[in-house]
């Protein structure tokens, strides 16, 4: 255990989790500037992971009928229609004038494929009493369905609202970054399918370099709104293994602007909470036994 086991930058997440000899940390860089909103990621994920279809509801949220990440949506493509006033552009008075030269700049349609962030400090994992959630040798965070007893602590532990219990067996569900595929040397299903390579899979260090270069290139092109989300190891979750290039503020996409792992203050509390920790272990034991 180190100073940054629960908060702050952490270079070797898998090593910290007890893997002496492990592959590099793997993750996603989702470059939303090239997302075409096709939802291949959603389908490829569901097909591979056996995630069932959800409700057949028209949501009216532009072309998004998935709504949010959840037990039955491990990838979710958000669609954001931005009107002139939202962009601070002058509006026009006469209807039909929108076909003028302002027609491109007065409207923007953003698309972004969201996914579990695979945080450096994962709230879901930190609060899981059963060991169902664990850190893999790839530095990713996975729910083990053979362990999970559906207690639901993780749901409130996630600062992004990603993880959710599935109706029926009640077990917690979220992206595994295709742990099974990774172990076979395959890339995750969503990244493989993505037609425009908006979802890129690779070593997190390398992806961060690539992302920084991409932001710089977009800025040079005048896309001043381009920014990274989750790539900063000094943020509230120690940076994420799945991070994003956004074209606007995170809130625009429905993402929390400054997520913080709920265990941030845990180290300071650790000594005072010594007894609580013992109780925590005991509770885990009971839960584990109960879950078998």
């Amino acid at each position: 255990m180190t100073e940054h086991s629960l908060y702050g930058p952490l270079d070797d997440v898998a090593g910290e989790a007890g893997y002496d000899d492990h592959p590099p940390r793997m993750g996603f860089f989702t470059d939303t500037s090239v997302c075409i909103g096709c939802k291949a990621c959603e389908v490829a994920c569901k097909e591979w992971n056996g995630v069932p279809a959800d409700d057949f509801d028209l949501l009216g949220m532009s072309f998004d009928n998935t709504g949010h990440l959840g037990a039955n949506a491990w990838r979710h493509v958000a669609f954001v229609e931005q009107r002139a006033q939202d962009l601070g552009m002058p509006s026009f008075d006469r209807p039909g004038d929108g076909s003028g030269p302002e027609s491109r700049t007065d409207f923007r349609w953003l698309m972004s494929s969201d996914v579990c962030k695979h945080c450096t400090h994962a709230g879901c994992l930190d609060v899981c009493p059963t060991g169902a959630l664990f850190r893999t040798e790839f530095g990713t965070v996975v729910v083990q369905q053979d362990i999970c007893n559906g207690c639901g602590y993780c749901v409130s532990g996630c600062p992004y609202g990603v993880i959710e219990r599935r109706e029926g067996d009640g077990r917690a569900q979220k992206c595994t970054l295709c742990y099974d595929r990774l172990r076979a040397g395959e890339e995750p299903a969503c990244a493989k399918a993505c037609p425009t390579d908006s979802i890129q899979f690779g070593e997190v260090d390398e992806l961060r370099d690539r992302a920084a270069a991409r932001v710089a290139a977009l800025h040079e092109r005048g896309e001043v709104g381009a920014r990274l989300y989750g790539a900063d190891p000094d943020d509230g979750v120690g940076g994420t293994g799945a991070f994003f290039l956004l074209m606007d503020e995170p809130e625009v996409y429905g993402l929390p602007p400054d997520p913080v792992v709920p265990t941030r203050d845990l180290p300071a509390m650790w000594k005072r909470a010594g007894l609580a920790a013992v109780a925590f272990a005991a509770a885990a034991a009971v839960a584990f036994a109960g879950g078998r």
């Binding site: 898998a14 291949a40 076979a184 399918a193 584990f288």
Partner: protein
């Protein structure tokens, strides 16, 4: 990338041996207290199932090279098969067209071929009938033979209304989808032409 860690963890499990101690070692809190993962969130928490996990496509006994059946881009697909069942369909990275990628429809191909929506039996609705009935394939084929010849003869014309020789039938029509193979379209056109049928059409008209 290689999955080096998979081998490592498998080895550790084997070292754990059998017996009561093994069960204890598999208990996460026990490992948390004794192993190199003091917070019990990583290696110590890995379940046997997780430790043995691999992609199900690894179990394929055959991989067929195919092409996506939806739009006309013609993306390459790899069809993973075990015991004459499709395990998984995904993009073929070798394809210079698609480079392994698929759209949502192409990505749903496994469901398309394996799903419960697939019809498996011949069904028959008699004239003025209110329900489907099952029909033997062989019987159905023979019934279609009868009806094709009947419709051909009812719509037969040796000459048209101007007396010009046309040797054709207007009693029989066909509309084909554009997801049929070239070889299939060829036999369809050839057979209908030999029957004298002309109204042989296709999605390409639409």
């Amino acid at each position: 990338m290689r999955a080096a860690a998979a081998g490592v963890s498998m080895e550790r499990r084997r070292e754990a041996g059998v017996g009561p101690k093994r069960w204890l070692e598999l208990w996460p809190v026990y490992r948390q207290l004794t192993g190199g993962d003091p917070l019990g969130r990583g290696h110590a928490a890995q379940s046997p199932r997780s430790a043995g996990l691999t992609a199900r496509t690894e179990g394929a006994d055959h991989v067929a090279k195919s092409i996506c059946p939806y739009c006309a881009v013609g993306c390459g697909q790899r069809v993973y098969v075990a015991d004459d069942r499709v395990l998984q369909i995904e993009g073929d990275p070798d394809s210079p067209i698609s480079r392994g990628r698929l759209c949502p429809k192409g990505s749903a191909s496994t469901q398309l071929v394996n799903g419960p929506q697939r019809a498996r039996k011949v069904l028959y609705r008699e004239p003025y009938g209110t329900e489907w009935q099952e029909l033997d394939l062989d019987t159905a084929m023979d019934m279609v033979v009868d009806r094709v010849l009947d419709a051909r003869d009812k719509g037969w014309q040796d000459v048209d209304e101007h007396g010009a020789r046309v040797r054709r039938t207007l009693g029989l029509a066909s509309l084909g989808g554009a997801t049929l193979d070239n070889e299939e379209n060829y036999l369809i056109k050839k057979l209908f032409t030999a029957l004298g049928a002309l109204q042989i059409e296709n999605q390409a008209r639409i």
